[in-house]
């Protein structure tokens, strides 16, 4: 059995940042493994640890820099990694949901997994849609926002809890093969051990171009064009107290007394 995990290296923006053209200036960004994908990797590794003969393969779309993030997933227990990159991807303004799903679908078709785990969303783009779009392209079943997973590979069913709004979970059986989008909190992602980090250096990490996966540059074409990026007007009309911690704490204490939260 094979589990494919989609992994994204996300950009995190410094508290103080600058916008350059239609994106955040490179100097204001730091890169890390997407938080949701960390949970998806952990879920896949736990499945592989609980069952014989399961291969965990990660797939990522990203530049060479992303290999550090991919190695982290390998260090946590994934067996093998594929990174798709290409000049056409590097030159694109941004990759829309359809483009990402097309690229990952091309890899998934070659890999033929039984289960695909993807994070609910990436913290930078917050599309929350690539996993289900991928399922549709593969002709797989799917479930979005999964926070509990029991796999019955023999019966070909994944029993999941989908985390709805307001503290309600939907209990659903999903036919395999399937794409599940994994919510934070489903497990406790491990830290990579030193041994894991050493082993990760020897695990296969293949780089594929669009041509290698049977696509061409037209996959990046999109009817959706980014036309501006700006800092939202601050809507804040908060009273922000100045001063050192003694002074600001004193102001807040006075407010809480006025509001009758505490006496005296």
């Amino acid at each position: 059995m094979k589990v494919l995990v989609t992994v994204k290296e996300v950009a995190e923006v410094d508290d103080e940042f600058e916008i350059s053209g239609l994106d955040i200036a490179e100097g204001s960004l730091e890169y890390d493994l997407n938080e949701w994908d960390d949970y998806a990797v952990e879920e896949a590794v736990q499945i592989s640890e609980a069952t014989e003969d399961i291969e965990v393969v990660t797939v990522t779309i990203g530049p060479e820099r992303a290999e550090e993030t991919v190695r982290m997933a390998l260090a946590k227990g994934a067996d093998r990694a594929i990174r798709v990159w290409d000049d056409a991807l590097a030159e694109a303004q941004f990759l829309d949901i359809g483009t990402k799903a097309d690229i990952i679908a091309a890899v998934a078709e070659a890999e033929d997994p039984d289960l695909v785990l993807s994070g609910v969303q990436a913290s930078d783009d917050s599309n929350g849609a690539t996993g289900v779009a991928l399922a549709k392209r593969l002709g797989f079943e799917w479930a979005a926002v999964v926070n509990d997973l029991e796999l019955d590979a023999g019966a070909g069913i994944a029993s999941v809890h989908r985390e709805l709004e307001g503290g309600i979970e939907e209990l659903t059986d999903v036919d395999l093969p399937a794409v599940l989008t994994i919510q934070t909190g489903i497990n406790e992602p491990r830290y990579a051990s030193l041994r894991g980090i050493r082993q990760a250096q020897r695990k296969p990490l293949e780089t594929e171009s669009l041509d290698d996966i049977g696509l061409d540059a037209s996959v990046v074409e999109s009817p959706i064009e980014r036309t501006s990026m700006y800092e939202p007007e601050t809507e804040s009309d908060a009273v922000v107290w100045d001063g050192n911690a003694d002074e600001t704490a004193g102001e807040l204490a006075e407010l809480l007394r006025e509001k009758g939260v505490v006496e005296g």
Binding site: D125, V132, W142, H161, I168, T184, S228, E231, V262
Partner: protein, 322 residues
Amino acid sequence: MTVLAVAEHRRGDLRDISFELITAGRELAADFDTDLAVAVIAGDIEGFADKLNREGVDTIYTVDNGEEFNHGVYAEAVEQLCAELDPTALLLPNSVNGLDYAPAVAGSLNLPLVTDVVGIEGGGTVEVVREQYGGKVETTYEVDSERCVLTIRGAEWPPAESTGDASIEAAEIDIDEGSLGATVNGFEEVGSGDVDITDADVLVSVGRGIGEEDNIPIIEELADALGATLSSSRPIVDNGWLPQNRQVGQSGKVVTPDVYIAVGISGAVQHVAGMKGADTIVAINSDPNAPIYDIADYGIVDDLFEVVPRLIEEFGGQAPEI
């Protein structure tokens, strides 16, 4: 040509986003000088159709199939309605269920999809506004396509209110039950427990800024000193540092206390959805650009580990050693 919005309901009740979709839909329909159609799928479709009959809705299509959301049924029904109505824009909720079928519909119909939209303008091409990088920036996109699928964020448009005069039609939708690959077996309520944070008059709420589990006691001490109840944002519960019944936000509890003190909480949209109804909101966060300050009434831009111990002392307590 038309604009088609699809309502959302759960366990017998229409969700608020349904009425916000009507507002967004009728604005967009006006931009294109076209009609607004609303579809309601499964459950008490007649009762729902009556409630969805708000000003600006031209036609309500009902699809009678089962009681609750099933993404296979929704996707198939919406695709068949689109084939019939050929909408210029399909508006869906950016909810957990909306995101469980919108990408499938867009994929099937080969339409561009933009999710979590907070602003839309139509007319020529559709222009949308989104937030990115955790709300630190807004971006605008032009969708150069005759048709598109958009999911809209909750609470960005006001709900449609006054009664309308829509015609209500039962849509003839043919769904092959054998093709459905997901079966919904039921629901479970989570996060009940000994404490009900929705009852509290004063909440002290802790977020990611607390750094590690060992630091939680100083927030507990603050809550004790104020006679307040302790709550938290999502990452604290994800990490297992506090039980789920303490979680405020979209996936947790919606709270409306007199005073809400957010400590080390950035104010992600999912969190704000759960606490924006508080009378007085106080934020303690070292990042002056954190979105929590957009809704806070009072703020202290400083290190919480400096401020909270002083505050505890103000009320005669002693900050625990951490």
